[in-house]
């Protein structure tokens, strides 16, 4: 299997992952560490894009790896680690949203307001525009709009957009992650994109 720029930013391959999993299953702690480091960016990105809140996303992303660690004994090495982790992430995000819903609170992403972290640093839910040409501020603004619209989508719609248009998964991978048929992915994705466009048009 060749390098996949979305799933393997370190330039590794699925074969490397399989080897790491094998080592981790055999008790190699450093191998598990490596798996975390390799995939944390993707897992965090999925969580952030589904939940819209950085702190929640970090918390859930950690939980993903905790669950993966506990279940690693049963992971089939022929499967793709990244897809496996993303499906765990999707599950946990859904649970987290329901957790908040039960407490009658919605995770509100104030994307325009800076979020103060423990160290007093200021972070935004969306990538901060680097100081520079005005255009970069404009594109960050555009990204904020998109994120805000994304969070208004239904869970199903948002899942489709995040997995396909933000994370770059194939239809087959999405079917595997979301646990549905290929045809379902096709139609859900189509509807989700129409919805998103309607939201974006309405926001301008």
């Amino acid at each position: 299997m060749g390098a996949d720029p979305v799933s393997y930013p370190a330039g590794g391959t699925a074969g490397d992952d399989a080897a790491l999993v094998a080592r981790a299953q055999g008790g190699d702690g450093a191998a598990f560490d490596l798996l975390v480091r390799r995939h944390q960016q993707i897992v965090f990105a999925v969580a952030l894009r589904m939940l819209g809140d950085r702190d929640e996303a970090e918390d859930v992303a950690q939980d993903v790896f905790v669950r993966a660690y506990r279940a690693i004994g049963s992971f089939r090495r022929e499967a793709k680690v990244s897809t496996w982790l993303v499906s765990i992430a999707m599950n946990l995000c859904r649970n987290r949203r329901r957790w908040w819903a039960r407490r009658k609170r919605v995770i509100v992403a104030s994307l325009d307001e800076p979020v103060e972290t423990e160290k007093g640093a200021v972070e935004h839910a969306v990538a901060d525009p680097a100081p520079g040409p005005r255009h970069q501020a404009e594109s960050a603004e555009r990204e904020r709009h998109i994120m805000a619209a994304l969070l208004q989508l239904s869970e199903v719609d948002r899942t489709m957009i995040v997995l396909r248009d933000l994370q770059g998964h194939s239809y087959e991978e999405i079917a595997e992650i979301a646990g549905c048929q290929l045809g379902t992915v096709k139609s859900r994705l189509s509807r989700a994109r129409v919805q998103l466009r309607a939201l974006l048009d309405g926001m301008l």
Partner: protein, 314 residues
Amino acid sequence: MDCQTYQRWFSPYIDGALSAEERSQLEAHLATCPRCQTELVSLQRMLGTLKMMEQPHAPDLLPGVRRKLARQPWWRGVLERMTGPWRLPWHSFALAGTAAVALVAVGVSVYLQRGVQGGMKSNADSMGQSFTNREDWQSRSDSHTVVTNDAFQGRGDESGFPAAEEPAGAGKSFGGNLGHAEKSEVRVSSPPTEVTIAIPQRQESKEAELDSDGSVLAKDKERQVPNDSASCKAQGGVWGTFGLAQVQLCNMPTSDADKECTDAGQCESRACVAPAETAPGQPATGRCHGWTVTVGTCLNRVIGGQATGTLCED
């Protein structure tokens, strides 16, 4: 078939998921329907923007993951001892020092959680954000939080903490153990209702720092360029033959066309174009080229704020 039906095909068309027949049917319709053309382009633009969105900067999750794995209820440690030869021995982890620190942290956090037992349920909302592992939290009873050092395989003695702790319900008080916690040197800077501890939890890994340095340039994100004429067209590009080598490429409109720039690195096309008449070496501000392919073009490029003079690329 009417426009509305055709427009439902746009999404799979862009992803190359239509059959060859459906695709040619749609393209035939598009050739005669300006309204559908506009709709398609609008959708392609939106998807193009989504595709190019920056990946969020992820914090280093590993310390938090380890911390959560260490804070297991007592029965989990027993369970794992009984099953799975795959349990990872913690002393084999690279950062052994962190494990010792985590132990102390864990002891302190137990102390704090015990301290706010009474107000736990009512404070749930405000503390909600502080629960670092809701899964585990819900899986054990609210009345006690227990830490074992089963996961640490006997290192408890070294750090001054007891080897194992039983649930409060069993009658053993935490008092003696807490003595250790109080004397520990870990300073808790947050108020007792918070479980967070003043241990650096968000240490950026070296890799992350390099990444953020690398992103000084315009989005280096790999844009998956269509490699056949059908998908090229479906995504809004133009398939053509370029340069002396007569290479076949998909020429895509760039997302930052006409953006002001002072260096090639700022543009998706890697071409920041100045007016042709700007002399080489002159300070210049240009605008990003509107297409991804520059082979076969003659451009006056701006690099490092200076014009290079019109050069042709073969």
